[in-house]
């Protein structure tokens, strides 16, 4: 009969230690909810701010709503030849330039705007619309290196009348992560 690798007494001691450790672990587990809760910081999964046009903070003229997958990249006021205008830059997804333009035009015509003119230089398609004295100009161009396989397809610029924030006191309306109205001296955050 081969000699056991571990003497029986030693083995008994090991078993005893094992049982004690197991009991201690079970005791800690059962008592653990009495020790309080750890508070993770969540900082590697910051909340996703709502889409700029979905909040209604800076609405489009006439309450127009885009039925087009898009993400707003930058919003702000610029000085143009006819005074200050709002410039909203974004990207359209899933559809090509002409389809994206058709949907953006539709968004404005359905709230009373009428198409005034249309220009196509081969890359950029621009459409001007007006509702009385209110004018809107939409430009769209496909991004180089994108095709029907890519989600993001092109860029658009909406040239709009300046708008005041709908709810100035709502912190959401002053959060650039959502509004995309970036402060030039913005400190990096998450």
């Amino acid at each position: 009969m081969p000699t056991p690798a571990v003497a029986p007494r030693q083995r008994r001691a090991r078993v005893a230690v094992g049982v004690l450790v197991a009991l201690a672990v079970v005791a800690v587990l059962l008592l653990s909810h009495r020790f309080g809760r750890a508070e993770p910081t969540d900082n590697y999964r910051p909340p996703l701010p709502p889409d700029a046009l979905a909040t209604g903070c800076y609405p489009l003229p006439g309450g127009a709503e885009l039925d087009l997958a898009h993400q707003v990249r930058h919003d702000g006021d610029v000085d143009g030849p006819e005074g200050p205008r709002r410039e909203l830059r974004g990207q359209y997804d899933l559809v090509g330039r002409d389809e994206a333009m058709a949907r953006m035009v539709e968004a404005f015509t359905s709230v009373g705007f009428a198409e005034q003119s249309r220009e196509d230089d081969g890359d950029t398609l621009s459409v001007s619309l007006a509702d009385g004295a209110t004018t809107v100009r939409i430009s769209a161009a496909d991004l180089p290196g994108t095709d029907a396989e890519t989600l993001v397809r092109g860029e658009f610029v909406l040239d709009l009348p300046v708008v005041a924030p709908a709810r100035p006191d709502d912190p959401l309306c002053s959060d650039p992560k959502s509004t995309k109205r970036w402060d030039p001296d913005q400190e990096p955050t998450r």
Binding site: V28, L29, L30, S32, H33, F35, G36, R37, A38, E39, P40, T41, D42, N43, Y44, R45, P46, L48, P49, D51, A69, H70, Q71, R73, Q91, D93, L94, L143, G145, T146, T150, L151, V152, E155, P176, K177, K180, W182, Q186, E187, P188, T189, R190
Partner: protein, 501 residues
């Protein structure tokens, strides 16, 4: 150099026998740990350390809830353990027990706990090395990385790099044993398969970048077994490998499934590779199909954008990140790529102690701590850079003294080669070397030993060739070593050319 060598050899002769020396080196390691602890006691988590600790906290809460028979806070777990899928949860699992008992543990407790865990792991590794390779090799690892101040400093960190390196050593030791058995015509046992599967998945859980190494070692071990064994033994080897594979997959699957369900896409380990490639090698102004938001860091800007596109298109952010990466990488040139690889290699290898300046208390260190930090940096450089030169020499040379030496040479080359793939696909930083550190020690020692034997300062060992099978094994190992050395040299030449041109 020669005079220095003579002196070193004379000094080595006066040292106590390896087992005793090993004991003293462990004591020295512990003393160094104790001396370095005050540097980190009040240093809050730096960067990604917070992510790993968040995971540990959320996991401890989930365990707490389950033990109290209540439903765990799934949202909290999603946000902190998976978060954006950037990190494997190994270090979160390691820290969860601490938070289970002490939910409010601050930096001192967390770092003390991590220091203890890594101490135990270090000692386990040294014991295993002594058992498999002998006490001399354990002495080597007890010196490098065991006595490299910055490596000891990192033992208090919550990143998984260092622990992954130690687990890899355990895996390599097991492979050495498997190979020895193969020489005796013995197939790997179920026990070997179990150990290899468990150690591999542990290394992967600690650091996802080890995946290339794990895959490479796994395939090569299986191929070697198939080549050397015949008949039933061959099938046993296949069985043991299958067991290792099944264990690996079975233990990885819960994580993959969980991360995939949270992120709504197939995630096997982590989601970082596309963004990392785009940020590292691509046009940074094209990462978000144009410029990213101006307000955030390099890693968080693309993430938010990907989530926005995902929301707009009803796609998973993981898929969006892949497309963003492809877009930013459209115009990468070979020259631009190699240039960036050089940068990454520099960041990987040439700033070993930069984290002394990162892991600091919120209000700084004060004069004594600052000087202490400099000491850590300076002493690390003194040990690290000469070793790095030896590692470079190791990669392009071939150890020929004995069959065992050849085997260790091949395994160390494979490990270092596979770990150094990282700078070719990933931006690197001053903590990545800690994964490779044990292999740096082994590589440097192989070069020194070959030189000592070559110059007659140490007796040549028996070549270990007893049978015709051994002779064939040596021939094949030699060819493989040559291939690895030539490949390393070729890569080095290309990278040097990229610097010069």
């Amino acid at each position: 150099m020669s005079a220095l060598e003579t002196r070193l050899v004379a000094l080595a002769r006066r040292l106590p026998p390896p087992p005793v020396l090993l004991g003293w080196l462990v004591v020295a390691h512990v003393v160094m740990k104790v001396l370095l602890f005050p540097l980190v006691t009040s240093s809050p988590p730096h960067g990604d350390e917070q992510a790993y600790l968040n995971g540990g906290m959320a996991l401890s809460n989930a365990i707490r809830d389950l033990a109290a028979f209540t439903a765990p806070d799934r949202a909290e777990l999603d946000r902190n353990l998976v978060a954006s899928g950037w990190f494997m949860p190994g270090m979160s699992i390691v820290t969860a027990p601490l938070y289970l008992v002490l939910p409010d543990a601050g930096p001192a407790l967390v770092r003390g706990y991590l220091g203890l865990v890594t101490l135990v792991l270090h000692v386990v590794v040294l014991r295993a090395v002594a058992r498999t390779l002998g006490h001399r090799w354990a002495v080597v690892l007890a010196v490098f990385p065991g006595l490299v101040p910055m490596w000891v400093f990192f033992t208090y960190g919550a990143w998984g790099d260092l622990a992954a390196g130690l687990v890899l050593v355990l895996l390599v030791l097991r492979l050495v044993e498997v190979f020895r058995a193969l020489r005796r015509d013995a197939a790997p046992t179920w026990r070997d398969g179990t150990a290899i599967g468990l150690l591999s998945v542990a290394a992967l859980y600690l650091r996802s970048s080890t995946v290339i190494l794990l895959a490479g070692l796994g395939v090569l071990t299986l191929l070697t077994a198939l080549l050397l064994l015949r008949g039933r033994d061959r099938w046993r080897a296949v069985g043991a490998s299958a067991l290792a594979g099944v264990l690996f997959v079975a233990l990885l699957a819960p994580w993959s499934a969980y991360a995939s369900s949270v992120l709504g896409a197939r995630v096997i380990t982590t989601t970082t590779v596309p963004t990392v490639k785009a940020n590292t090698f691509g046009d940074r102004e094209q990462v978000c199909f144009g410029e990213c938001d101006p307000d955030s860091t390099l890693w968080f800007r693309p993430l938010r954008y990907a989530r926005e596109v995902g929301r707009a298109t009803g796609t998973s952010e993981v898929e969006v990140l892949q497309q963003m990466s492809d877009h930013a990488l459209r115009d990468v040139t070979v020259g631009g790529y190699l240039d960036q690889v050089d940068h990454n290699l520099v960041a990987y290898a040439l700033q070993p102690a930069v984290f002394v300046d990162h892991v600091v208390p919120e209000d700084g260190r004060g004069p004594v701590g600052t000087v202490w930090g400099w000491v850590v940096m300076g002493t690390t450089w003194l040990v690290y850079f000469p070793t790095l030169l030896l590692v470079a020499a190791f990669l392009v040379r071939v150890a020929r003294r004995s069959l065992e030496a050849r085997l260790l040479d091949v395994l160390a080359k494979l490990c270092l080669g596979a770990l150094l793939v990282q700078p070719f696909v990933h931006v690197a930083g001053g903590r990545y070397w800690t994964t490779a550190a044990p292999f740096f020690g082994i590589a440097a020692a192989i070069v020194l030993r070959e030189r000592m034997i070559g110059t007659g300062r140490a007796p040549a060992p028996a070549d270990g060739v007893a049978t015709a099978r051994d002779a064939a094994v040596v021939r094949w190992l030699g060819r493989f070593q040559g291939l690895l050395a030539v490949a390393s040299a070729a890569v080095a030449v290309v990278l040097l050319a990229a610097v010069v041109i």
